[in-house]
C-alpha cells in the first residue's frame, strides 16, 4: 500500500459565488496524526466531504490511500473510518444496534475489539442513541470510526462533549493508531483539541490552505507580545512600516502588539518621537500563533504545500 494516506491536488469547491475551497494541495502520510485547523466556515468540513465523495469538487482531485476519491469511492470506504461533526445517528436504535448496522454494511467487524473500545471509552451501548447525552453519543460515534481498524481515520471535531478523562483515553487511542502505521486526520477549530496528539497541522482560512507546519515548528516561530508604556499619549502610526509588527492596539500612553522582528528596529521607531517609560515582552503561547493565522492567514509565511 502507498505511504500517502490523503492527497489533494488543486482541490476546489464553489457553491455558486461562494468559494468554499480554493486550490487545496495537501498530502498526509501514513503513520501520521494530522490536525486540520481553521475557524468556523473556513472549509474544513467541505474538504472532508469532498474527499469522501459526499460532494463533488468543482475542480481538482483527491485520493485516499492512492485511490481516486470519486472513481474508487466504495473501495476507499473499506479503508477509512469517519466521524462527522455534529454527529447524527438513528435515535431509535441502541448504541449496539447502531454499531451492528454499520458493521453489517462493512461485512462484519471484530466484536471483541468493539467491546474493548467501549470499555476504554466507558461507553454504554444499551440505551437508544436518542436518549444519550451528546458526549455519550459521541463515544458511540468514536467506536464506530475505530471499530473496523481502518487505515485512515477521518474525524471532524472528535472531542465534542467528551469529558477530560475520556479525552485522554481518546488521545491514547489516536497515538496507538499512528504507532501502528495508520493515519489519523483530525479536523478542529481549536488547537487544544489536536496539539497534544498531532504531528503536523494544516491551517485553512477562507478556503485557502494558509500553512502546513509541524507543531514543533510552530512553537519555535517565536511570536512575541510586546507592551510599551510612553510618557505621553501615543499615535499608532509610528509603528507603521516596522518589520514584524502586527495588530497594534494603542490606548492613551500604552501600546500592545504582536512582534516577530528585530527589537532594535521596533525601539528605534518607538523612541523617534516619544519617550519610553517601560517595555515588557513575553513569548506568545501557541494558541496566540494560531489565532494570528486565523486572523490574517499569513500567506507569506506559510508553506502552501507541505510534505515532511
Amino acid at each position: 500500500m502507498t505511504d500517502t494516506a490523503i492527497k489533494t491536488e488543486a482541490l476546489t469547491k464553489h457553491y455558486g459565488e461562494v468559494k468554499a475551497l480554493v486550490d487545496l494541495d495537501l498530502e498526509v502520510k501514513m503513520g501520521e496524526v494530522f490536525g486540520f485547523l481553521g475557524p468556523n466556515g473556513a472549509g474544513k468540513t467541505t474538504m472532508i466531504r469532498c474527499i469522501l465523495d459526499l460532494i463533488h469538487p468543482t475542480s481538482g482531485r483527491a485520493s485516499i490511500v492512492g485511490l481516486d476519491s470519486h472513481r474508487d469511492s466504495v473501495e476507499i470506504r473499506n479503508h477509512i473510518g469517519y466521524l462527522p461533526s455534529d454527529l447524527s445517528m438513528y435515535p431509535n436504535l441502541t448504541g449496539k444496534d447502531t454499531l451492528t448496522y454499520y458493521a453489517n454494511l462493512r461485512g462484519g467487524v471484530d466484536w471483541d475489539y468493539v467491546d474493548e473500545l467501549a470499555s476504554r471509552l466507558a461507553a454504554d451501548l444499551s440505551p437508544k442513541v436518542g436518549d444519550l447525552s451528546s458526549g455519550n453519543r459521541q463515544k458511540v460515534g468514536l467506536i464506530q470510526a475505530f471499530m473496523s481498524k481502518p487505515n485512515v481515520v477521518i474525524m471532524d471535531e472528535p472531542s465534542t462533549g467528551l469529558d477530560p478523562l475520556v479525552q485522554r483515553e481518546f488521545q491514547a487511542m489516536v497515538r496507538e493508531v499512528a504507532a501502528e502505521g495508520r493515519c489519523i486526520f483530525l479536523s478542529s477549530h481549536t488547537l487544544s483539541e489536536v496539539q497534544r496528539v498531532a504531528d503536523r497541522v494544516g491551517i485553512i482560512r477562507n478556503g485557502h490552505l494558509a500553512a502546513v507546519e509541524s507543531v514543533d515548528e510552530l512553537r519555535s516561530k517565536g511570536i512575541r507580545r510586546v507592551e510599551i508604556q510612553f510618557t505621553t499619549p501615543v499615535d499608532a502610526s509610528i509603528f507603521e512600516g516596522v518589520p514584524g509588527v502586527r495588530d497594534v492596539e494603542v490606548a492613551d500612553h500604552h501600546a500592545v502588539m504582536s512582534f516577530d522582528g528585530h527589537m532594535d528596529a521596533l525601539l528605534k521607531a518607538a523612541t523617534s518621537t516619544y519617550q519610553l517609560v517601560d517595555v515588557n515582552t513575553q513569548e506568545a503561547d501557541l494558541e496566540e500563533v494560531f489565532l494570528e493565522y486565523y486572523r490574517t492567514g499569513r500567506p507569506d509565511d506559510a508553506e502552501r504545500t507541505a510534505t515532511v
Binding site: R49, L52, D53, L54, I55, H56, S73, V74, E75, R77, N78, I80, G81, Y82, P84, D86, L87, S88, M89, Y90, P91, N92, L93, K96, D97, T98, T100, Y101, Y102, N104, L105, R106, G107, K128, G130, D131, G141, Q144
Partner: protein, 550 residues
C-alpha cells in the same frame, strides 16, 4: 399572550397553510369549470334524502355540486389535517424537538406559550377559511355559474369549527402526553373514523346515533351547504374546542416536561425484560439492522400497522355493511345517471362489488397506501440527508445506487404486504357477508392494481427526494400529483371537453376497467408498473450526481 411565540408559530406554518388553501380554491375552480359543461337536469330529480346525505344543496345547481364536492371532502380534510398538524406540534412538537426547555429558559410561562400557540392555530385556520370563503365568491363569477341556493357561509363556518375542534383535541393530547406522534395519530384516527361514521352509519338507521360521538358528525351531519347553519351543531363544535383547550391548559402546567427523547415502544419493553429479551433480540434487535432495506422497513412498521389495520377492518366491515343498507336506498342508487356515478368514483354503488370498490378501493385504500408509500419514498434518501445520517452511512463501502436499491426493496415489500392485508381483509369480509357476486380473483386483481398505484406515487416521492434532498418537497409534490390525479379521474369524465384527458390519471389505469369485477387489465397494470419503474430508475442518476446535504 406572547407576541413572539404567536408570530413564530405562524411563520412556521403559513406556507403549508397557504398552499393547502390555494390548492383547495384551485380545485374548486377546476371543478366548477368541469361541472359547467355537465347537463345537470338529472340532478334535480334526485330524492332529497340522498342530496342531504352526500351534502349537496337542494337547489344549488352546478355551483352547488362543485362547491359541495370539493369543499365538503377535500377542503375539510386539508383544513382539518393542517389544524391537527399545528395542534399536535404546539406543545408536544416543541418537546420532541428539544426546544421547549430553551423557550422556557426565557421569562415565559407554559400556559403563556399554550395560549399563544392556540391563538396562532385560530389565526392560521381562520386565514385559510377566509381564503376559501373568498374563492367561494370569486370562482363562480370567474367561470360564470350561479351560486343561488347555496349556503357558502354556513359550510365555511362548519369547516372552520370542525378543523379547530380537531386541532384543539390534538393540542390537548400533545399537552398531556408530550408526544407529537400520539397527538397527531390519535386525532387523525378520530378524523378518519369520524368521517366514515358520519357517512356510513346514517345508511343504517338503527345505529346512526353512534356517529354523534365524533366531531365530524357535527360538521357534516346537518349538511350546512344545503341547510345553512345548524345552531346546535355549531355550539357543539365550539364547545369541543373550548373543552379541549381547557384540558390542554390544565395538562401543560401539571406535567413534567420531557427532554428530547425517543418513544419507548412495546418492543423496547420486551427487549428490556430478561424473560423475553433473547427472543425479541433475535427478531427485532440485530436482525432489524442486518441491512438497509430491513432497517428501513422497521422504521415504518408503525405506519404499515396503522394503514394495514384500517384496510383490514374496512375490508371486513364494508361487505357486511352492504347487507344492512335498505333496499329502497339501493334502488335509488341504481337509478343514478353516469355523470353522478362518475362523481362517486365511477362505480355503481347499488351492487356489492360497486359498493366495495367505492367504499374501500376508490378513496380509503389509495389514501392509506399512497400515504405509506409517499412517507417511505420521501424519507428514503431526503430523510437521511435531513437527519444528517447520510454522511455516516455513505462512509461505509457501499454505493449510492446500493442505498437507493435497498430503499426501493423496502417500498416494494411494504406495498406487497399492504396488498396482502387488503386482499385478506376484504376476502374475509366477503366470505363472512356472503356476497357471492364478488370473487376472490376480483379482490386479488383490485389489490394488485392498488399496490401498483401506491408504488407510482411512492416512486415519484423517491425521485423528488433524490433530486432535491428535501423530504417535504418530495411528499408535497407526490401528494399534489396524487390529489390532482384523483381529481382528474373523478371529475373529468363528467365533462365532454375534459373527458378525453382522464386517461392521464394513474387512477384511471387503476380503477377505470373496474378490476374488482373484470380482473386485472394487463395494459393498465403495465402502464402503472412502467411509470413506477421509470421514477424508481430515474432516482438513481438524480441521487448519484448530486452533492449530498446534511
Amino acid at each position: 399572550m406572547l407576541a413572539n411565540v404567536f408570530t413564530k408559530s405562524i411563520r412556521d406554518r403559513w406556507i403549508t397553510a397557504g398552499i393547502g388553501a390555494v390548492a383547495v380554491a384551485v380545485f374548486f375552480w377546476f371543478g366548477a369549470a368541469v361541472y359547467r359543461d355537465v347537463d345537470t337536469s338529472f340532478y334535480y330529480e334526485f330524492p332529497r334524502v340522498w342530496l342531504e346525505l352526500v351534502g349537496l344543496p337542494e337547489n344549488g345547481g352546478v355551483a352547488g355540486i362543485a362547491f359541495g364536492a370539493i369543499f365538503n371532502l377535500i377542503g375539510a380534510f386539508v383544513l382539518t389535517g393542517i389544524a391537527i398538524g399545528i395542534g399536535a406540534s404546539s406543545i408536544a412538537g416543541e418537546e420532541s424537538n428539544g426546544t421547549f426547555g430553551l423557550l422556557l429558559g426565557n421569562p415565559v410561562s407554559r400556559r403563556g406559550v399554550l395560549i399563544s400557540k392556540a391563538a396562532s392555530l385560530v389565526f392560521i385556520i381562520g386565514s385559510m377559511t377566509l381564503l376559501l370563503w373568498a374563492s367561494g365568491y370569486v370562482v363562480p363569477r370567474l367561470v360564470n355559474i350561479n351560486m343561488g341556493g347555496i349556503h357558502v357561509e354556513a359550510l365555511i363556518l362548519a369547516l372552520f369549527l370542525n378543523a379547530l375542534a380537531h386541532g384543539f383535541i390534538a393540542m390537548s393530547i400533545g399537552a398531556w402526553t408530550g408526544s407529537r406522534n400520539a397527538a397527531s395519530s390519535a386525532t387523525v384516527g378520530l378524523m378518519v373514523v369520524g368521517y366514515l361514521a358520519a357517512g356510513l352509519l346514517p345508511l343504517v338507521g338503527s345505529i346512526e346515533w353512534l356517529a354523534r360521538f365524533f366531531p365530524w358528525w357535527y360538521y357534516s351531519g346537518s349538511s350546512p351547504v344545503s341547510s345553512g347553519v345548524d345552531t346546535l351543531h355549531t355550539i357543539v363544535l365550539v364547545l369541543v374546542s373550548m373543552v379541549a383547550f381547557a384540558i390542554a391548559y390544565i395538562g401543560v402546567a401539571r406535567r413534567d416536561l420531557k427532554e428530547k427523547s425517543t418513544a419507548v415502544t412495546l418492543l423496547d419493553r420486551l427487549r428490556a425484560n430478561p424473560k423475553t429479551q433473547k427472543m425479541i433480540e433475535r427478531i427485532a434487535g440485530s436482525a432489524r439492522v442486518s441491512r438497509i432495506s430491513i432497517k428501513t422497513t422497521s422504521e415504518h412498521q408503525g405506519l404499515l400497522t396503522i394503514t394495514g389495520s384500517i384496510m383490514f377492518y374496512m375490508g371486513i366491515l364494508i361487505p357486511a355493511f352492504y347487507n344492512f343498507i335498505p333496499d329502497d336506498f339501493i334502488n335509488v342508487i341504481s337509478q343514478f345517471p353516469d355523470a353522478i356515478i362518475a362523481m362517486i368514483g365511477g362505480v355503481d354503488m347499488s351492487t356489492a362489488s360497486g359498493f366495495i370498490t367505492g367504499e374501500i378501493f376508490s378513496l380509503v385504500g389509495p389514501i392509506a397506501l399512497i400515504s405509506l408509500m409517499v412517507v417511505m419514498g420521501s424519507r428514503a434518501l431526503a430523510g437521511e440527508e435531513e437527519r444528517h445520517t447520510i454522511g455516516l452511512l455513505m462512509a461505509n463501502p457501499i454505493t449510492r445506487s446500493h442505498v437507493i436499491r435497498e430503499k426501493i426493496v423496502a417500498m416494494l415489500v411494504y406495498g406487497v404486504l399492504f396488498g396482502i392485508i387488503t386482499f385478506l381483509g376484504t376476502w374475509l369480509g366477503v366470505l363472512i357477508s356472503g356476497n357471492d357476486d364478488v370473487s376472490a380473483t376480483g379482490i386479488f386483481s383490485v389489490s394488485v392494481m392498488l399496490v401498483l398505484l401506491g408504488w407510482v406515487f411512492g416512486a415519484i416521492a423517491l425521485a423528488v427526494g433524490a433530486a432535491k434532498g428535501r423530504s417535504r418537497s418530495a411528499s408535497l409534490v407526490a401528494t399534489g400529483v396524487a390529489v390532482a390525479s384523483f381529481f382528474v379521474f373523478s371529475f373529468f369524465p363528467l365533462s365532454a371537453s375534459f373527458e378525453s384527458w382522464t386517461v392521464v390519471s394513474p387512477f384511471e389505469q387503476y380503477l377505470g376497467s373496474d378490476p374488482l369485477l373484470n380482473g386485472i387489465a394487463w395494459a393498465d397494470a403495465g402502464v402503472l408498473a412502467t411509470i413506477a419503474l421509470f421514477f424508481f430508475a430515474v432516482s438513481i442518476p438524480l441521487f448519484n450526481r448530486r452533492d449530498l446535504t446534511g
